[in-house]
């Protein structure tokens, strides 16, 4: 199955959107487990508990938080002002390449709440549970 997925995403460049732990699976690896991730986006998944800015904040990071995209195009078309999404997670994606960060959200400090590289996209929040903001994002993904 891994070979088929790699073929679909890396060679045939099918658009893929990872949601929540689905975004975390795009990384090379995670503090949460020992086995490697898909490695489609260069980065590692860390625990908020081990990250100084969020060390004293409640974990999981849970609820509606601001999402500030780096650009109001692509996945975030018409979502560059005042967008809010629902989060529920204890781990976050640390990108190796700054250009792969597509949006940030504040929790102690800014963390990557959306990542992207070519046809591969990931969002830490739940668009399917984020009312009209989420509907917009999913429509944007469908129209990429």
């Amino acid at each position: 199955m891994r070979a088929q997925l790699d073929d679909l995403v890396l060679r045939r460049r099918a658009a893929v959107l990872g949601v929540c732990v689905g975004m975390q699976m795009l990384a090379r690896g995670s503090d949460e487990g020992k086995r490697p991730g898909l490695g489609w986006i260069d980065g590692h998944v860390r625990a908020f508990r081990s990250w100084e800015p969020a060390r004293r904040l409640p974990v999981p990071h849970m609820g509606w938080n601001d999402v500030r995209p780096t650009s109001g195009t692509g996945l975030f078309r018409e979502l560059d002002l005042d967008a809010r999404f629902y989060f529920l997670h204890s781990f976050f994606f640390e990108c190796a390449k700054p250009e792969d960060v597509r949006a940030v959200s504040p929790y102690g400090a800014d963390f990557s709440s959306a990542v992207g590289h070519g046809n591969v996209h990931g969002v830490q929040f739940h668009p399917e549970k984020s009312h009209h903001f989420g509907t917009r994002l999913l429509r944007n993904f469908a129209e990429l």
Binding site: P58, V59, G63, W64, L88, H89, P106, H126, K129
Partner: protein
Amino acid sequence: MLRPRITPCLLVHNGGLVKTVGFTAPRYVGDPLNAVKIFNEKEADELIVLDIDASVRGTEPNYRLIANLAVECRMPLCYGGGIKTAEQAKRIVGLGVEKVSISSAAIENPTVISRMAEEVGSQSVIVVFDVRRSRRGYEVWSHNGSRQTGKLLDEVVRSAESLGAGEILVNSIDNDGQMTGYDLALAKRLRELTSLPMTVLGGAGSVDDIRRLIETCGVVGAAAGSLFVFKGPYRAVLINYLGPALKEDLIRRLAPAPVEQP
């Protein structure tokens, strides 16, 4: 900024939605799926649905109802009622529910919290404590307030956190259905006891009650039943929620001053 959550809490009894007072006298207020559709339109922050029959009757969670709710719900959903095992929790999360809540099972057999956290992740395990005030402090009751557990809130909250709970919800039996305000001393106590996200339920009768809770606890879940299913002094049944302008106003008052961007 992470926002406080304002969360309708719906009770399921004999397949319909009800609202109780002091955990008794359930009054029919409507159909669960219809209520979810209304809260979708109102863009509620999240939704809690508790089946108040399952644990008392010792029945399995109603998976068909849960699946229907999850499909309909465009906001995060927390489901509770009759969940005793990690396998049941996994099945419910698999139906598209973000959070499962346990109460009786967590008190009788606290290690189930760890097994559930391993199975579905801590972030999805909500532990609910129903409490009554007494001279000893806040005493925890189970099975819809019908059984005294002999335990105090302080000990069960610490134990639930150390076993891997992702959120604590505390429900005041004394204030249930009263619509006279949250038990703020209870909310404050819970904030001191745990560093987990927390939600308070029981007593909200107005937007001011929600404001006072947020002022007391900061980023918190403010859950309410009566407030969102009744309207007016005669408690006519009308599913309702805060309008976006009112909610924004409430949140903005509490927001810290924006940090200037370089």
